[in-house]
Subunit: 124 residues, 2 copies
Amino acid sequence: MSNTEVLPLLEPEAPQAVAPCCPPLTERPLSAEEAERTARMFKALADPVRLRLFSAVASYAGGEACVCDISDVGVSQPTVSHHLKKLREAGLLTSERRGTWVYYRVDPAVLAAMGRLLSTDSAA
Amino acid sequence: MSNTEVLPLLEPEAPQAVAPCCPPLTERPLSAEEAERTARMFKALADPVRLRLFSAVASYAGGEACVCDISDVGVSQPTVSHHLKKLREAGLLTSERRGTWVYYRVDPAVLAAMGRLLSTDSAA
């Protein structure tokens, strides 16, 4: 809470969450539709700044972080907001405004689904 | 082995394997360098065709597949080869020529590292 600027949050929760999907990649070939959904999720994580923001939120004390807590990644605050929005649209983060602040959180179910996708349970 | 065409494999194993890297995203914020490496890995998986090929190789009997076994994803064989090369360059697949065929394999250590990255062990 080192910064008192408030960023506007124009949209409500992203409707097209994509992450909780699909069997482990080692289980069977993905269908075209499964691959589309999963690729969107990986695309959201395929950017270094987004990954740093995502890990900053995911590892923050209490599992959620205010945008002012996680903007220390060497880019401007509008850029931070842009990337957080992309993560939200991909269903990887949820956000909630409480008072003057917007808090971001990683849905544990989403993270579990992503981990399952890459699990080796079905590997030889 | 329904196809007797042989695709050329011009390069040896990709030297810049990137996957076995970095703590779980929930453990602490990634450093800039860790985020760069991890983003490259996710970028390689951020394409539906590559994901289908990756899951086809990863789930194939015996853990490896000939290019002729996995080209049933609705794109041309040169496109398949292009995507397999990208996956190889990202360190997600290894390849080996045996006789006239090139076999692709997912390194279990790579998959385990990816799964660890998305594990929730450190999550609250």
